[in-house]
């Protein structure tokens, strides 16, 4: 599924996001990077239609995203928030099951098919043994994986993730990004992910979008767009790119 931005504009009191044509290729992992306040999360929420989206601005396989009914859209596109603030002590299984809402009518109860999708999603992120545990008892790394599992249970082919690795230790960071990468390879899911860690963004992304002050500064495969001058333009501090064991490392 390809996600295509024709011209997207969103503004609130003190911020304006404006994008011209931009395409997110099917089955690819696109990293959205940029300084704080550049509009990364806003862009993601606009694409998920969690913020008001004007008609004819974003298209999913040629269909206007803003004109699709909510349930219809949610079967094609899922969104993973930065965190979930728990109120009630749902088990991991019941929590992930809420991702099936788009496949069920207003008065319907989840059936065997939905339970199977949940088990499969939990299996994929390796949390099946945790299915009966309360969500509130999980560590923050496990919580991120449960949020991803919920989006997987939704069975959409575009996945939007808002900073899935913030506050994670290096091991869990690699683990979460590894799962996300596997989704694009094994299931041809189109992934858009906002990231703060530039090294990780360069290492895992098939394409990078650099945002600054609500505009796209550069976009393309990391090996083509990444340069020291671009980084200095975007982040306003000098950075160097160092090659080490075949990886590009960014040194401040």
């Amino acid at each position: 599924m390809s996600l295509q931005v024709r011209s997207l504009a969103y503004s609130n009191k003190n911020f304006t996001l404006r994008l011209d044509a931009l395409e997110f290729a099917a089955g690819r992992l696109t990293g959205i990077v940029g300084p704080n306040g550049a509009g990364k999360t806003t862009l993601l929420k606009c694409l998920g239609v969690l913020l008001p989206l004007e008609r004819k601005s974003v298209f999913l396989d040629g269909r206007d995203l803003a004109a699709m009914p909510a349930a219809h859209r949610a079967r094609r596109l899922s969104y993973v928030p930065q965190e979930h603030v728990p109120t009630f002590s749902y088990t991991v299984r019941d929590f992930v099951l809420t991702g099936r809402a788009a496949h069920l009518g207003l008065f319907a109860l989840p059936a065997a098919r939905d339970a199977a999708a949940v088990e499969e999603a939990l299996e994929f992120v390796g949390l099946r043994p945790f299915a009966g545990r309360p969500y509130v008892q999980l560590s923050s790394g496990e919580r991120r994986l449960v949020l991803i599992a919920r989006a997987l249970a939704q069975d959409a082919d575009v996945l939007l993730l808002d900073e899935p690795t913030t506050f994670l230790d290096p091991r869990h960071e690699v683990e979460v990004l590894g799962f996300i990468k596997r989704l694009t390879r094994e299931r041809r899911i189109t992934v858009l992910v906002t990231l703060h860690n530039l090294d990780m963004a360069v290492k895992y992304s098939d394409a990078l979008v650099f945002l600054k002050e609500g505009r796209v500064h550069a976009a393309g495969p990391p090996e083509e767009v990444l340069s020291e001058s671009l980084l200095e333009d975007v982040y306003d501090i000098p950075m160097r790119i160092v090659h080490c064991d075949g990886h590009k490392l960014i040194v401040r």
């Binding site: 929420k45 998920g48 239609v49 969690l50 909510a70 349930a71 219809h72 859209r73 949610a74 079967r75 899922s78 969104y79 928030p81 979930h84 603030v85 109120t87 009630f88 002590s89 749902y90 088990t91 019941d94 099951l97 809420t98 991702g99 099936r100 809402a101 788009a102 496949h103 069920l104 207003l106 008065f107 319907a108 109860l109 989840p110 009966g132 919920r150 939704q154």
Partner: protein
Amino acid sequence: MDKKNRKSRRVLGILIMALPVALFVLSLNVGSYSIPAGDMGKTLLSLVVPSLRQDVPQVHRDIVLHIRLPRLLLALAAGASLAVSGAALQALFRNPLVNEYILGLSSGSAFGAALSLVFLGRSFPPQPAAFVFAMVAVMAVLLIAGRPESGLVSLLLTGVIVSAFFSALLMLVEFFASPYALQSLFYWLMGNLALAGWRDLALALPLMAAGLTLLILLRWRMNVLSMSDEEARAAGADVRREKWLVILAATLVTAAATSVAGIIGWLGLIVPHLVRMAVGADNRIVIPLSAALGASFLLAADTVTRSLTSIEIPVGIFTSLIGIPIFLALLKKSKKVWL
């Protein structure tokens, strides 16, 4: 461990579902006039088998069909309504302390029903006015507190303010009421099931049944809506529409219950809490079990108050008197406000 736990929860669930039936049979046989169990059976059967009517003394028929049966049915329906609307509103507002009292629903419907009773008379059903003013109250709370996700304190505070406003309006109505109307108003407001006859229930029971059916059908959806609005929307829920549907149904059952039974506090807060402690947070189970436990709780409380003393203490006073200590004990035991 997990399996054993799940099994004991299932047993507990079945017990709670059976509780209202057992209490109903028990309470039917409790009263100042004692009727032998065999006669009770015959009297009930005579409802559906007309030929049995001549075997049953008229006194038994009058007591069972016109005094006990409506009262027990009202206790079951009102208890279920208040507990389920409490559980639903808690899920919707992502806040386990929310109840129909805090959202102004109780005082709104009490004012509406009182207004109708005093100015339109006993022959006009009080439910429409109760529903309208309950909706006015909940809309006022939502409008003043802002979006549902604005914090707990602002919601609770707004609820207190709106409730206080409607209480003042209620006092104004009482001020204009005739002494006779005032007396019945007074007993009814304290939470009283004794005043209800079939005529009052004819409208209230179907309304409660309709609202409860809607809320029970929406029970899994409440799990989805109890996530943040953003998460629910991303999962494909039409959040605005679905939330209004739940609020309308919860208002309908609360207004219908309050307009015949008066203000019965604390049920909507304690019953869902107890259920969540026993079986977990999943609303697929919490909603039906809250209905069963709420119905049992109010029925038991009413039976105790009407048989304990010769002067009947209004059941609303009783539920508050035992509800508040239970709530404090729960709060202390769980060490946190929610479960």
